[in-house]
């Protein structure tokens, strides 16, 4: 769970780095070079298998553990929730489920199009990811939904990052406070980075 999670956390940084190229002022030329690299490089192809494995393990284990956790308390309390829990940790399965739904939509919008399972939008080539992204963000409803989703992703990551270290037993008086700070910064910056792209297309471009 923790290892798969940390792997996905590193993946998000790479994904963000490439997505940020959408905003460079060259009508997507730099972005398309990156896309070209990511879709053709054999090493990336191998990593793609690991990535899907990482998602599968994280999601399947997450659901199994959550079901076990629900079963561990068959009768709930009448009054509860007064213990000092870290707020975001209570809703990992919920934020996770929201991210999963988005992941499915994301697959339909891009990955399945690339595979040829879903036909690209009219007038576009199936590798024309830049135009697809521009088209999607042109839809105000989608763009706003995307920004809201990034807030949930932030909630998920806020607990996830530092929690993974605790699960792996990496708790230390010197380093744990540092990890928690990094975790918070990561959980703010990465979703903010993603969210900045639709906002850029809505207000600046």
């Amino acid at each position: 769970m923790a290892l798969a999670g940390l792997f996905l956390i590193t993946f998000l940084v790479i994904h963000l780095a490439i997505n940020l190229l959408l905003m460079s002022n060259d009508n997507g030329a730099a972005y398309m070079v990156a896309v070209e690299f990511m879709t053709t490089n054999p090493l990336i192809k191998v990593m793609e298998i690991f990535l899907f494995g990482g998602f599968a393990i994280h999601i399947i284990f997450g659901v199994i553990l959550q079901v076990q956790n629900w079963m561990a308390r068959p009768v709930r309390y009448k009054v509860e929730g007064f213990s000092h829990l870290s707020f975001f940790s209570k809703y990992m399965i919920h934020t996770g489920a929201i991210i999963f739904i988005f992941l499915c939509v994301h697959f339909f919008n891009f990955y399945f199009v690339k595979l040829g399972l879903v036909s690209p939008p009219e007038g576009l080539n199936k590798e024309d990811f830049y135009q697809m992204a521009v088209l999607l963000f042109a839809n105000k409803f989608y763009a706003i939904l995307y920004v809201v989703l990034m807030v949930f992703l932030g909630f998920h990551l806020h607990h996830a990052f530092q929690s993974a270290f605790q699960t792996l037993g990496l708790n230390h008086t010197k380093y744990t406070p540092f990890i928690k700070v990094v975790s918070t910064i990561y959980a703010i910056l990465v979703p903010l980075g993603f969210a900045s792209i639709p906002l850029f297309f809505m207000f600046i471009k």
């Binding site: 956790n69 561990a72 308390r73 929690s163 037993g169 990496l170």
Partner: protein, 257 residues
């Protein structure tokens, strides 16, 4: 002081329980929560009703017998005390107090507010000990122990096994209890000999008994009457991973993800 009590009443382990509302009167603000329940039970008996069953023993916060989930918190609203150390002056006159038993699949209700905590004993039996043979008393300074380790071990050993960690955890996980027991032994040289087998056996038993999984929410640490830190959980995770990877012993099965 007078209070309205909403108490979980359940005839036996199989019966369907429900909340009953009662009034209790004439409580001294200096009395402990358990003394309040004693007075309340006297009042019930005078009226010819069944007294409320609850666990208690030493009444000085060191035995781990008392429990009670009071107004949404194990051992009530005060930090770092057990229910027996909680004073009624902590409440306002006329307050409504909801009292529930620990809720966990591994801690079935026996009657009213009393739960069966044998699951903890079973975890201890799985490995929470050292196999010291009898013999002469070793010299006090024969085994040197770093002060930091002795302190950390002592902090973990403060666990009284009351089960508040399980009660507080949203997943009803027993990780803090097991981690405290694993830690207080494995930090000392006497406990190191069996450390690898111990952590695997205790974690396997914990999973088998139907406790939930740890999601690092930290509620256990916040509610523990002995303020056991979740650093112990990290230590146990570390040892568990190390034992799974490095141990030569294939016999110990089970254990989380």
């Amino acid at each position: 002081m007078d209070f309205t009590l909403k108490i979980w009443r359940q005839k036996n382990a199989k019966a369907k329980g429900k909340f009953e509302t009662y009034k209790v009167t004439g409580i001294s603000e200096s009395s402990s929560f358990l003394e309040m329940l004693d007075v309340f039970n006297d009042q019930l008996v005078m009226k010819g009703q069944d007294p409320v069953v609850f666990d208690h023993d030493c009444r000085e916060g060191i035995c781990g017998a008392c429990s009670l989930y009071i107004n949404g918190r194990p051992h009530g609203p005060d930090d770092a005390v057990t229910t027996c150390q909680l004073h009624m002056r902590r409440f306002k006159d006329g307050d409504t107090i909801t009292i529930e038993p620990w809720r966990s699949a591994a801690f079935p209700v026996i009657r009213d507010l009393m739960v069966d905590r044998q699951a903890f004993d079973k975890i201890i039996q799985a490995g929470g000990f050292i196999s010291a043979n009898t013999g002469g008393i070793p010299d006090a300074n024969a085994i040197l122990i770093p002060k930091e380790n002795a302190d950390a071990s002592m902090d973990a050993a403060a666990c009284i096994g009351c089960g508040a960690c399980v009660a507080a955890c949203k997943n009803a996980s027993a990780m803090l209890f097991v981690a405290a027991k694993v830690s207080h032994l494995s930090l000392l040289p006497q406990g190191k000999a069996e450390a690898s087998r111990r952590v695997q056996a205790m974690v396997a038993k914990m999973d088998e008994l139907g406790f939930g999984n740890c999601t690092n929410t930290g509620a256990c640490e916040a509610e523990c009457p002995k303020q056991i830190s979740i650093e112990n959980i990290a230590r146990m995770n570390r040892e568990f991973l190390g034992a799974k990877i490095g141990s030569q012993n294939r016999q110990v099965k089970g254990g989380g993800f």
